[in-house]
Symmetry: C2
Subunit: 305 residues, 2 copies
Amino acid sequence: MGLLVVGSVALDSVATPFDKVDNALGGSATYISLSASYFSGPVHVVAVVGDDFPQKYLQMLESHNIDLDGLQVIDGGKTFRWAGKYHYDLNSRDTLLTELNVFEKFDPIIPDHQRKSKFVCLGNIDPVLQKRVLDQLEKPQFVVCDTMNYWIEGKKDELVSLLPRVNVLIINDSEARLLANEPNLIKAAKLIIGMGVQTLIIKKGEHGALLFSGDVIFSAPAYPMEMIFDPTGAGDTFAGGFIGYLYKTQDLSVENIKRAVIYGSTMASFCVEKFSTEELEELSYLRIQDRYREFLGLSRFDDNL
Amino acid sequence: MGLLVVGSVALDSVATPFDKVDNALGGSATYISLSASYFSGPVHVVAVVGDDFPQKYLQMLESHNIDLDGLQVIDGGKTFRWAGKYHYDLNSRDTLLTELNVFEKFDPIIPDHQRKSKFVCLGNIDPVLQKRVLDQLEKPQFVVCDTMNYWIEGKKDELVSLLPRVNVLIINDSEARLLANEPNLIKAAKLIIGMGVQTLIIKKGEHGALLFSGDVIFSAPAYPMEMIFDPTGAGDTFAGGFIGYLYKTQDLSVENIKRAVIYGSTMASFCVEKFSTEELEELSYLRIQDRYREFLGLSRFDDNL
């Protein structure tokens, strides 16, 4: 059946303190699907681009066993463009340009043969659209959902009403504080779980990630990066590795979800090493396994009990 | 022989968003020695107070097998006083008052019978005094050292020249960035190791702690605190639990140092639950072990390899 990914496909222009790139491949669905593709294929993408979208990017995605049947190409339309500039410490950025273009009227239509999809990853699009995706599915088994400050501020009711249909919500720490309206992250997590989401993952960038599921709290370390080249897409790449590993193993136990958090972190650590999807295009499962092992070493010790 | 602790003993007035307390017991040597006392006694404290220092605090410390032979009581002198106010999120604070009093002319004299001490914890006093302590010791085996922004900015050369004589430097993330003059924490850690310190621990508050030793990097989780009552002394309490556990076990392997980081974190998590040393005064080894186990559960998982 494959994994279903719905989100944006974009052309990004990014400036970091080290270098810059124009019209590089970007968008949440792009990062999620590329990241997931290393675990299992096919990955079905539902998104929209204009007819200016470079053919080479389509070919690259297809070469990763990413199925583009659900990618709408709008004749005469322009692809979503985003431009941003990262600050010195790479923890914050300014958005220089957001041109929604064809994305403004995006209506995610799930192709008939993908409506039986069991594993679904909803990129951080409008929660109204996220809901419309779920409404088209026959009986999704495992729904992973991302969102962003823009929707938490602008469409909080729509987002909150979606949460009981979501198995795993993946957001960052500032989004969690904003969604719960609570500065303490642990309290915020409990409040969000109280909104009906089964499992919550809070990404904390250079400080790793926290998983909350029932009574379980799991703290995943961050990979010790001496050099972050471009943080764009790291969160989406995390989500892709996370759901890709779970789809591959078909094991939704909390223990396996913990492993999936480490695989998600592993994939994100590659993503930030180069511009755009450059590093994600050329990975191997062997390199992923090696870094997963490095992650294990970061938090492992003999407790002597 | 016992564990030697040198630092400040103070009277703290602390305001948090929840409550306030005046002239409560404080100071780095206080927190370090109380925390360490749960692992091994006697703990020898070298510090200074005035004759206004409440007798009840001396009795409380002595009841924890803390030896006060090295505590100078200055006739007619006033004890070091500090007052601070924490902001809403408890991550930042304003210092309202710093009255050094007898601490201004503190000259740490190690009593003769403590000069053979093998395990030493240097609280965040002037690096010139920290050096003077080491000069009085016959052959210290394991030196743990704390410092603070004030000394990094004002006496960097003195501090850096001390580092090759230190086994473990324990500082927080902003201090590490300042000492190394490098925003990337992993790079900063390597630069500090390059200054000659054997092992570096970087405390990151609600994000846990990082240990750097040789090629080993270890990431310790933070205890998920829903309520931080008063953060004062958490760092010193960490250091006390850390060195207390190592002194008790007399095992300086990296594996055991990782365990000590978790014990340090465990003690710090108790410290912040009440004002001043209140919670540290009434702990039991059983409660410490229970929380240590909770810490293990936070990062533990079956890697399935």
